[in-house]
């Protein structure tokens, strides 16, 4: 079983080809604002390095957010097109959950900076079930969760919450692929970004109504 992993959610683009617990080839590069240029060619590079052709991939795992709207759309569009053309299984991966995978603490808080003291967040138990579901919220909610649950905190980048320094979580792609290995592929047309946030124009219309 060969799995193609695509993550374009953050500054780092991660592309990997994984076969039975082994990374055949991978690229992990920080290319802010250049995802559109390089992602498809990285996939080409990874396939060539592993001496595989595109149709030899059995399954595609794509991180579908939350994160950079544009970044997520690039990865998801590529994954959808690839899966559609070659009739491969496609499985969306949560950017919040993938950061938590590998820890067995009682509570794990996954945090992604969404600017201006806002965060994408989710709280998981040791089996990675959602205790607090994925959401877009502000720093007060983050403090409230920390006070109540004393969780391990994981993030996609180094950040400071009050006095706490949170280190960047390096992705363990084999672990992610293993966690999702029994998840069934979705209908490709229904795989879309998980933004957790409305476009600004829609929020403004909703504000006017309420």
């Amino acid at each position: 079983m060969i799995c193609l992993f695509i993550d374009t959610t953050f500054k780092d683009v991660s592309i990997a080809l994984v076969e039975d617990n082994t990374i055949l080839a991978s690229i992990n590069k920080s290319i802010p604002n250049e995802h559109s240029i390089y992602t498809v060619s990285f996939i080409d590079d990874v396939l060539k390095e592993a001496k595989k052709t595109p149709d030899m991939v059995d399954r595609i795992l794509v991180v579908n957010g939350p994160g950079s709207f544009t970044g997520v759309r690039i990865g998801v569009t590529i994954a959808k097109t690839y899966a559609y053309l070659l009739k491969k299984d496609i499985v969306p991966v949560s950017s919040l959950k993938m950061l938590a995978l590998g820890y067995d603490d009682e509570y794990i808080l996954s945090l992604i900076d969404a600017k201006h003291d806002n965060y994408y967040l989710a709280l998981y138990d040791s089996n990675y079930n959602e205790v607090i579901s994925e959401q877009f919220n502000n720093i007060s909610k983050v403090r409230e969760i920390i006070d109540k649950y004393h969780p391990r905190i994981v993030s996609n980048q180094e950040m400071t919450i009050d006095d706490m320094v949170i280190e960047k979580r390096e992705l363990d792609i084999v672990q992610i692929v293993n966690y999702y290995k029994d998840v069934k592929g979705m209908n490709v047309h229904l795989v879309n970004p998980n933004y957790l946030k409305l476009p600004q124009a829609m929020e403004e219309i909703n504000d006017k109504r309420s």
């Binding site: 149709d55 544009t70 759309r73 053309l85 933004y195």
Partner: protein
């Protein structure tokens, strides 16, 4: 010569479209998913909402196009895609889709400029004859272009401020008409009288255009009348505005035809659907014995068929992109300019 089938993808604004075009002239099938109803309530295209809609439609449209054309990917020779100009978040969806198809199938990827597409929409009606003048009129462009052969574009004039379609939409907005307002202004212009004293837009000896002056003058008239509590005769405002805009466009277009000694005129872009402009150009072309070509109505607005037509001639010229092709929000089509 072997037939060349192009799968073309266009997503530069608020339409997700794919088409299969044979030899740059024969449309096998086209699918267009328009988002116009989504953007209507915002009074214009909201870029983030447009991107979200594109990604939801993209594989559905891909599925649809092959069913509609009753063809398979194996029968496709080249992949044509709009790389710009347009809304960057919208362009990216079509572009990533096209690059992935190129990766998976190994077929050549042909980057197409959106305006080259609008120009080549005419090639789907009948084969372009050179030399020609192309009048490009849309929500983003107002250009006069000289072509002496295929896929060679020399700009001879352009708008200095608003594009003509943009001026139409803004005038429609101030008059309280629905979005998109251009076609409604055109409709009302046929119902009113030329009674408002508006300035002629940049009626000079250049090939450039300027529509911000007549737009502002129209705004002022509407505001003043409203302040005085007078009724605005919307039809008359539309007639007065349209008459002057078309007068200058037609005048400059035919001066270019004289100066460049061409016999062929093609019109391209969304405003090519404007009835007033069609009538005025047709009349003048008949008087002067000029071959005039318009795209058919559904090829005036954004569509992938025109991209497929242009891609064929770009391919013939040796234009090809690799997998690092990027989208460009702003990019000039023209040789030796910008």
């Amino acid at each position: 010569m072997k037939d060349i089938y192009c799968l073309a993808i266009e997503s530069s604004c608020d339409e997700t479209s794919m088409s299969i075009v044979k030899n740059g002239c024969e449309e096998m099938a086209t699918v267009v998913v328009s988002q116009i109803d989504i953007h209507k309530k915002f009074g214009g295209v909201v870029p983030e909402i447009a991107s979200r809609s594109h990604i939801e439609s993209i594989t559905i449209v891909l599925d649809e196009i092959f069913k509609k054309a009753n063809m398979t990917m194996e029968e496709i020779d080249i992949i044509g895609v709009t790389y710009g100009p347009g809304l960057i978040g919208s362009l990216l969806i079509g572009l990533q889709c096209a690059k992935t198809i190129a990766l998976v199938t190994g077929k050549p990827l042909i980057p197409v400029h959106h305006i080259a597409g609008h120009i080549y929409a005419n090639n789907l009606e009948k084969r372009l004859e050179f030399p020609l003048i192309a009048l490009v009129v849309s929500g983003g462009h107002t250009d006069l272009v000289y072509m002496d052969k295929d896929y060679s574009f020399k700009k001879i004039g352009s708008t200095l401020d608003d594009a003509v379609g943009e001026a139409y939409d803004k005038v429609a907005k101030i008059l309280g008409l629905d979005y998109p307002g251009g076609p409604i202004v055109d409709k009302y212009a046929h119902m009113g009288n030329d009674t408002y004293d508006l300035p002629y837009p940049l009626d000079d000896n250049t090939y450039n255009f300027s529509f911000s002056g007549i737009k502002s003058a129209t705004f002022n008239i509407v505001h003043n009348e409203r302040q005085r509590g007078n009724n605005i005769r919307i039809e008359d405002v539309c007639t007065s505005f349209q008459n002057r805009v078309i007068h200058v466009i037609v005048k400059k277009t035919f001066r270019a035809i004289d100066e460049y000694k061409v016999k062929n005129l093609i019109v391209a872009g969304g405003v090519a659907a404007n009835k007033g402009l069609r009538e005025a150009l047709t009349k003048k072309a008949q008087e002067k014995g000029i071959n005039l070509s318009f795209p058919k109505m559904e090829h005036c607005t954004d569509n992938a068929a025109m991209i497929g037509a242009a891609a064929y001639f770009a391919y013939q010229k040796g234009i090809k992109a690799d997998l690092k092709l990027n989208a460009k929000a702003i990019d000039s089509l023209y040789e030796g300019s910008e």
